[in-house]
Amino acid sequence: MMNARRGWLALLIAVMLVTAACGSRVDAPDGTASGGGSNAAAADSNAEPSATQPAGDSATAPAQGDATPENNGGATDVGVTADNIKIGIQADITGARPGLFKTALEGLDAYVAYVNANGGVNGRTLEVVPYDTKLNGDEVRRTAKEACDSVFALVGSMGIQDSDGAATIEECGIPDIMATALTQERQEVSTSYSPLPQAPGLWSTGPGAYLKTQFPDAIAHAAMITVDQASPKLNAAKLVDAYQQEGFEFVYQGKTNVIQIDFTKLILDMKDKGVRYVMMIADNSQMADLLKAMNTQDFHPDVIEFMPQAYSQSFVDLGGDAVEGSYVWANFALLGESDVNPEMALYQEWLTKTHPEATPDIFGVYAWGAGMMFVEALRNSGPEATRDGLLTSLSEDFIDWDANGLMGLSSPSTHTPSRCFALMQVRDGKFVRVFPEEPGTFECELGGLREVNPDL
């Protein structure tokens, strides 16, 4: 009997482990990216942003530099040899939500493959060292420590718990070019930069300013819903503060739990307060659930506005008909406009080459942009690759920078956000450009950078 039971158990375990190894894949999920706070105030920038920013003229030639392995100085810093530079990327790949920011790793892989295919930088090829942070603060801190000792720089990182690496990175001074920082603590690290920077005390109001022109009455009845977690709440508070300066009146501000099975009370409250303009900061699944619940409760506000993390086909798939009519803005080139944006075309081309099954998305674009910043700064710093040289270039050379048209104009060196955006609306299950109408362009005049309290 005992032997028979052991046999069954062995079979059960074997089946389960084999099944686990085979796996069944779904589309990469979307996480919560703060994404906001982007816009350059004219006062801080030497050049005035144009009303519409056109796409770059041609794809960036990869930065090669003139040096060779024989004369580039050799092993000039941590993670550097005469022919190779190791760069690390921290991303939530496995853990409680597998695949959360896997596309960031894929985006960086694609850019590195592109650079290496064109000769690398100053005689050195780039090598990506992935650090899976598993949505775990301990792993973020631990891998940051490991990165400090073994790679030249961190590039393209994204993690829900990215704040847990802040102290370690600050202490060791490793350059940290993030895809985007999700917490203020990580934004404030002195060696952290981002192709679409965020400033704790600034927030963009461009999208709201445009929608105000279209729905002037609705903005007097606005609502903000956010998941009850520190980072989303902070971002929500800043957004509310900034939009109030734009003339919005928030008649309702609500919170949801991380695990929320019913939104009825929240919706009834919004109906009761006469809400006509809804914004939400949460993960895509919860935002989709809220929209479906709003449909059930027959609550149809004039405007539903989402931040860039909703710019994902999976969000549309999750919400179905309930997502129709929602507005989503992006501060980077639209994924469907690769025909008019050479850099977007390049990203998608090399993503297909390196990860044929991958889907282009916002996190991949951010990571590609982080890769571009790194390579440009590396070339600028000269053949002897040093962390200090890289940091000097990062702090000086990226003023009015737009990743060759891939992103809205911003100044990463001074952590001055972009004020540019493109607004879309979900129509028939697709994201359709609404403003500015011309494909491949951004709007950079409307609204602006509003000062908000960084410690809200």
Binding site: S24, G95, K145, I261
Partner: protein
């Protein structure tokens, strides 16, 4: 207050509660008919949700066919396999073992789901998603929600009828009370037990199919939602299905009405401003219910097979500790910083596990809330140790956590066994969701913390800190063993074996429980401080409820009555973390806990007991350490002897426990 608004909240609460009722019903069926509280119940539902999604959304099967396959096929099959392969081996085992095995299954299922269905941007469609909702008091209930309510009522009434009005149902209940008597009446206990688990798991699958559309399809969220339903099951005293339904609706009402009341009462609103209390409401409800019910003896309580192990002498414990520390010093020289750090964390958790050796192993009190106390200790270290690593912080960790343990023990005095375990779980959930996340405690980020600096000697380096953690674990182990050998220890184990007998001997079990909880919490607090220093920062996530579950697991697997389980468990956690980094399998540590569950079912006392037996066969006790000069051969210690002094002393064990 608006009456209409309140009535709307009632409608919402009933709808929400019905979802919980379905989840809780299966729990009650399994407990009523097998005596085992299945912590993996939610996980079975979660797997069912994923499978249902796979069949309907990915593979395009008809909904009706998918429901049949999942609810009538997959769910019952999983239940039957679990009963045959694991649960059957747990008969006669301790409550701790039975709890841990089902927790291990839960954790394994989460690991399985995250590997099979990677990525979670998927949602389950509800039934009849395009149908018009049903409106009541301006509240629209989707057809799916109405189906959930109807199913919940049907399940409650139907199961009640089945269990109490049919021969099969009666046989299922009879097997729990006495398998031997039941078999004399022609009932086959194994078959009936398997049927019970099949039905329970089938209900879990039904819950997964019904509740899945209400949440994002994500392993952890779906699994832990069912934890909220435990309160409903407790209202039904784990045996009454109609009362379980009532409890579930009550839970739904509580979750919806409390925020409304708070919002409309000024002083409450001010007092709770800034506190994230809403996610903790299910835990509060559970706690209130546990305090209100009259705890009679639970069904399924039966004599256990727990053995009493020989307790090492003081010399043996000191020499053993010295050996472990020396070994650690040597091995640490060859390990990378990353490995050292993972082992530091593992052994820090080992200290928390040691607290359970005292509380659960010696005292027989099962706790699922030790990480709650560990978090208190980490907070104390943050405040009193700070960036300088002042060792006073470590003392403060003990001193602050111990009274918290005593406070938790006060309401817990009136419950025992499974109810006590659930009470401690409610405490841990409350601390996790509300207290630790408050800005004044850990807030939203990791708070920087320096490692211990002892008389000017810093333990900041990873090698030095690993040795420090292991040393503290050894010192505490020596202390725990000394307690075990003392009169207090004998009183404790005597109470574990029979509280009633101990009371007749004049021992006040309440005082003993209080002291034990306090000491255990203090040790867990030290563990929390060590964990936080390993991370060089304290954050709420480190002490979440989900972290408490593996602590009990590692101790029970290693042998809950042996301090060596704290060492082996800590080492195992560290090694799993190291291996998990190298192997490309998502959440490998979760999968490996499933192996632990299987192992426990074969060896419910834990592998440590088996190993101790092997060592004793090779080196009999009488010959150990005989090589020491001038040392007579040690005699085996008397086991669990209650001396006349313990009997004649006035009732109560004085605070400090060493009378």
């Amino acid at each position: 207050m608006d009456v209409k608004e309140i009535l709307q909240l009632v409608v919402i609460g009933v709808a929400m509660g019905s979802a919980y009722a379905i989840a809780a019903s299966g729990l009650v069926v399994t407990y009523t008919t097998s005596g085992i509280f299945n912590f993996a119940h939610g996980a079975i539902g979660m797997l069912s949700s994923f499978l249902y999604w796979q069949l309907t959304v990915q593979d395009g099967w008809p909904v009706w066919l998918s429901v049949i396959v999942v609810v009538l096929g997959f769910g019952p099959a999983v239940g039957a396999i679990i009963e045959f392969g694991i649960v059957r081996g747990l008969r006669g085992s301790s409550l701790a073992t039975r709890i841990v095995v089902t927790i291990a299954l839960m954790v394994f299922a989460m690991g399985l789901a995250t590997n099979i269905w990677q990525g979670q941007s998927a949602s389950l469609p509800g039934f009849f998603p395009d149908a018009d909702p049903v409106r009541f008091l301006d509240v629209a209930l989707s057809v799916h929600q109405v189906i959930v309510i109807v199913c919940a009522l049907t399940v409650a009434v139907g199961l009640r009828f089945f269990l109490f009005r049919t021969r099969v149902g009666t046989a299922m209940r009879a097997v729990v009370d006495s398998p031997a008597t039941a078999s004399l009446n022609g009932i086959k206990p194994d078959v009936v037990s398997q049927l019970s688990w099949a039905i329970g798991a089938g209900l879990a699958a039904l819950a997964g199919v019904l509740i899945g559309p209400m949440l994002q399809l994500e392993a952890f969220a779906l699994t832990f939602l069912v934890i909220n339903a435990y309160a409903a099951a407790v209202v039904g005293r784990l045996r009454s299905l109609p009362m379980t339904f009532v409890g579930a609706v009550g839970l739904g009402l509580f979750i919806n009405l409390v925020p409304y009341v708070v919002e409309h009462i000024g002083f409450l609103s001010s007092a709770l401003d800034g506190w994230r209390y809403q996610p903790a409401l299910p835990a509060v409800f559970l706690f209130i219910v546990l305090m209100l019910i009259k705890d009679s003896s639970l069904r399924g309580a039966r004599p256990t097979r727990a053995r009493t192990m020989r307790v090492p002498t003081f010399t043996e414990s000191v020499l053993g500790s010295a050996g472990v520390i020396a070994f650690t010093i040597v091995v640490a020289q060859f390990l990378s910083n990353d490995t050292l750090n993972r082992l530091q964390l593992g052994f820090g958790v080992g200290v928390v596990g040691l607290s359970l050796v005292l509380l659960t192993g010696y005292g027989g009190q099962v706790s699922l809330g030790q990480m709650g106390f560990a978090g208190v200790g980490a907070f104390a270290m943050l405040k009193f140790g700070g960036a300088s690593g002042n060792p006073l912080g470590l003392l403060a960790a003990f001193a602050l956590a111990a009274p918290v343990g005593a406070l938790v023990a006060i309401p817990a005095l009136r419950v025992r066994g499974l109810y006590l375990a659930l009470t401690t779980m409610a405490f841990a959930q409350f601390m996790d969701e509300t207290v630790f996340r408050h800005e004044g405690v850990f807030g939203s980020t990791s708070n920087a913390l320096g490692r211990l600096s002892i008389f000017g000697v810093s333990t900041d380096g990873d090698k030095a800190y690993l040795v420090t953690v292991v040393t503290v674990l050894c010192l505490l182990s020596i202390g725990v063993l000394a307690l075990r050998r003392s009169r207090y220890g004998r009183v404790l184990t005597g109470m574990r074996d029979s509280e009633l007998a101990s009371a007749t001997l004049g021992i006040d079990p309440r005082a003993v429980k209080l002291v034990t909880f306090a000491l255990s919490a203090g040790i867990a607090g030290v563990g929390g401080a060590l964990m936080a220093m390993a991370n060089e920062g304290a954050a709420a996530e480190q002490f979440a409820l989900v972290q408490s579950l593996p602590v009990l697991l590692i101790v029970v697997v290693g042998g809950v009555g042996m301090v060596t389980s704290a060492f082996s468990g800590g080492l195992a956690l560290g090694l799993m973390s190291i291996v998990g980094k190298q192997v490309d399998i998502s959440n490998l540590d979760l999968l490996l806990t499933g192996v632990a569950a299987v192992g426990l079912s074969r060896s419910p006392e834990g592998w440590g007991v088996g190993l101790a037996d092997q060592v004793t066969r090779i080196v009999p006790t009488s010959r150990r350490f005989a090589f020491l000069p001038g040392r007579p051969a040690p005699q085996p210690e008397p086991v669990d002897e209650v001396t006349p002094a313990d009997v004649t002393r006035p009732s109560g064990v004085r605070a400090g426990g060493l009378v």
